[in-house]
């Protein structure tokens, strides 16, 4: 099982590091690439957590869809100036401090509950067959939210089209 942990820590490290790169690169294209790396390693974590379906969705939707959209827009809004400009705004340090405090607080909470969040005793097959289970839950228990989500997507699409349309 040694190997399992190693994979986790490697993936986690990749995720965090490239996330940091996302918010520090000046060039949005580089940020996008590192974001893709993060998303990929997160997808790997999903695989580890027996969520194949989610991993696939992550790859198709997030990376194959959303990120392409991002890159596309970056190319459309091709701004050389941003590369030369100061990437952070005036209040970066205070905001950073606040965020770090938030991190500390989360850490404290998790530390308090570390026994509760210990290794689960669940059998590995509990979430299998993954796709079928998700399908049933989605279409039976969560029918209404599912429909609402589709409606939301529709609205978002129309809205995006309307706003981005050249007038």
């Amino acid at each position: 099982m040694m190997f399992y942990q190693v994979t986790f820590y490697v993936l986690a490290a990749i995720a965090v590091v490239s996330a940091l790169l996302v918010i520090t690169r000046r060039n949005p294209v580089h940020s996008a690439i590192f974001l893709i790396v993060t998303l990929l390693s997160v997808a790997g974590l999903y695989l580890q957590l027996q969520a194949e379906f989610l991993a696939a969705v992550q790859i198709i939707l997030y990376i194959g869809g959303v990120m392409v959209l991002f890159l596309f827009v970056i190319l459309l809004v091709n701004l050389e100036v941003t590369v030369r400009q100061e990437p952070f705004n005036r209040m970066w340090w205070i905001a950073g401090v606040a965020a770090l405090v938030l991190l500390a607080e989360l850490a404290i909470t998790y530390y308090l509950g570390r026994q509760a969040f210990a290794t689960p005793v669940v059998s590995a097959a509990a979430l299998q067959p993954n796709t079928e289970l998700i399908g049933r839950t989605l279409y039976q228990t969560y029918m209404l939210p599912f429909e609402m989500a589709s409606l939301l997507l529709l609205v978002a699409m129309v809205g995006a089209v309307i706003m981005a349309r050249r007038r």
């Binding site: 986690a12 949005p28 209040m91």
Partner: protein
């Protein structure tokens, strides 16, 4: 097996990074990307707990989150393009009309 708490720490880290990005970056596109980071942090939590509780509902909610993320990205980028067309910039600190 890796204890759930480690996943939680990871997602906390990603969340914080995302928050910092949202709060501090000037480039609107990067801000949107940071939001995606935040949402991913949430998803990691959901999935990790789904494993711990052996319930697939976490996955379902993660799917919803991804849906929302997609919608958010679409609308956000739409606004961004519309804005860029008017102002020739995507810097957050040049977008200050809220003042009125």
């Amino acid at each position: 097996m890796v204890p759930t708490s480690h996943y939680l720490f990871l997602s906390a880290a990603l969340l914080t990074i995302g928050v910092i990005g949202v709060l501090t970056r000037r480039n609107l596109i990067v801000v949107l990307m940071s939001i995606e980071l935040i949402l991913n942090a949430v998803n990691i939590n959901l999935i990790a707990f789904a494993r711990q509780l052996a319930s697939v509902e976490g996955h379902v909610f993660a799917i919803f989150v991804i849906t929302v993320a997609a919608a958010e990205a679409a609308v956000g980028l739409g606004i961004l393009i519309a804005f860029f067309r008017n102002r020739e910039t995507v810097n957050t600190d040049e977008i200050d009309l809220l003042k009125w």
